[in-house]
Amino acid sequence: MIELKHITKRFPTAEGEFTALNDVSLTIGDGDIFGIVGMSGAGKSTLVRCLNLLERPSEGQVVIDGEDLCAMSTKELTRRRRSISMIFQHFNLLMQRTCLDNICFPMEIAGKKGPEVKKKARELLDIVGLPDKADAYPAQLSGGQKQRIAIARALASDPKILLCDEATSALDPKTTRDILRLIQDINRRLGITVVIITHEMGVIEEICSHVAILDHGVLQETGTVEETFSNPKTEAGRRLVYPDGVVLDQLPTSHVIRIAFNGSSSYEPLIASLAMDCQVKVNILGADTRNVDGKAFGTMLLGLPEDAGERERAIQYIKNQPNVTMEEVHDYHG
């Protein structure tokens, strides 16, 4: 289990200190595929670099399996890092080594020698689907192939955790999907905890079980992917889930109802009390006043939330209001 406790990271800059991470606390369970998403510059890379202490947090603790990394000696930390692998946007392979020797590298630095090292490297080449590239140099490979070699290298040290910093951001959509499949496959087969850093929601949707949304160094929300995506609670979350950001306050809507009330009541109090009394937020899709039989009637189109429980509560609440009638609209096209 990875626990980030109140991580703050400040960088000294010419214009004084810059706070790249502000009191970020996060728990990542064993075997999760955990996504950290945010706009460029949100502090994602800084956060993931804090996980293996490539960047030392200014404040806070990084606790992995109960051990505080910040409290470790350099030597212990160096050893500890061997169980936390990392892959990168630009692959970062050793360009003067063959693919096979790249995969051998982590074993080499851990002091392993002999034929088992090469044997294991070849097995890993099989796992990532490039058994014929053992003697090729990285410069001879495509981006996707380079990332596969990087993944094989990352697995060579038998890590418990795999950190991926924008690992698919330099790849085309098809290759991205292939690499994500491979990462998912590795997660399932080897039980490795995966942390995926990305600015693309698509990547999170594709394979992550949990997600954290980071904005301007602040953790905005975190939870399972379904929960967070179906109902982003924060402004930053909505901006990411609806990048084309139609209406900033737009909530996801699947059911639309039309309500009508007589002139004596007005709709603002109803919407407000819906939010206050039953914690349900609704979208006002349209409203007008109609004249029916010489009486003024207000009508309003409401978008109800996706969550069935919330929707039911809202409907019950509205039904119980005096002077209000309600009908479902099935053919609404916003």
């Binding site: 160096t78 050893r79 692998s85 360009m95 003067q96 040290s157």
Partner: protein, 255 residues
């Protein structure tokens, strides 16, 4: 006719100049190669670790060292680099006496060569190592490399082609500066050119010495570039890469 000959080749008969050449040329070439190799070797013994430290020891490097120490090292390198070679040669005469017992001859001339070349080598090595991709260093750190492993297994091997280009530049520079030490009693092609060619006005000997030096430089440059390119696993378009690197090497040089 005789006058033209005299202007071109000097007043000593050509046959006599050739006789001198037969006597001296072999050992002069050998002395030049010997002193260049020995001086290059020791320049790297000192300059390579120094160049590594200049990169890894700075703030944010793989193995940061105290700031004052880095300042001292940089200042020493800059100082030695800014003293003109001819003056340096005179300045280190006592040092040569101390180390090899004399201040004249081929072996003694190696000492000033090393003094002038190791700071130059350190800067060449520094420049090569600075080219290492930051991402690769970060990956190595993330993998749990010790600073020494990063230097030995990542920085130096990754910079090998560039280091070889630098080595060629250093070797050639030391070769040509070694020729200069002929002026103060060093041996080799330089002293042949100065003692016979210039002082005794045997211009033919002067030309031959210079042509041989030029040929040697060409050969070593081609060899160095060839190996650097052949060993570089990064590029498919090797031609443009080597041309660029060779060009950059040319700009450097010690005083």
């Amino acid at each position: 006719m005789d006058e033209l000959f005299g202007t071109l080749f000097g007043n000593t008969p050509l046959s006599q100049q050739i006789a001198y050449l037969q006597m001296e040329l072999g050992s002069a070439i050998w002395e030049t190669i010997y002193s260049t190799i020995v001086a290059t070797f020791f320049s790297y013994v000192i300059g390579l670790p120094l160049g590594v430290i200049l990169v890894t020891g700075e703030k944010g490097g793989v193995r940061p060292l105290p700031g004052w120490l880095m300042k001292v090292l940089n200042t020493v390198v800059n100082l030695l680099r800014s003293v003109p070679f001819l003056i340096l040669m005179v300045m280190v005469i006592p040092l040569s006496r101390m180390i090899v017992g004399t201040s004249v001859g081929t072996t003694a001339s190696i000492i000033p060569l090393i003094c002038a070349a190791f700071p130059f080598v350190a800067r060449l090595v520094e420049a090569s190592l600075r080219e290492t991709d930051k991402g690769i260093l970060e990956a190595a750190q993330a993998m749990g490399c010790t600073p020494m492993q990063i230097i030995r297994k990542v920085m130096l091997p990754e910079a090998l082609p560039s280091l070889l280009i630098g080595f060629t530049t250093a070797f050639i520079t030391i070769l040509s500066y070694g020729a200069m030490s002929g002026a103060i009693g060093g041996g080799g092609l330089g002293s042949l050119a100065i003692n016979y060619g210039y002082q005794r006005q045997m211009y033919f000997i002067l030309y031959v010495s210079v042509v041989i030096l030029v040929v040697m430089v060409q050969v070593f440059q081609s060899l160095g570039t060839h190996f650097a390119v052949a060993l570089d696993r990064r590029v498919t378009n090797k031609r443009s890469k080597s041309a660029r690197k060779a060009h950059r090497g040319e700009k450097a040089g010690f005083q």
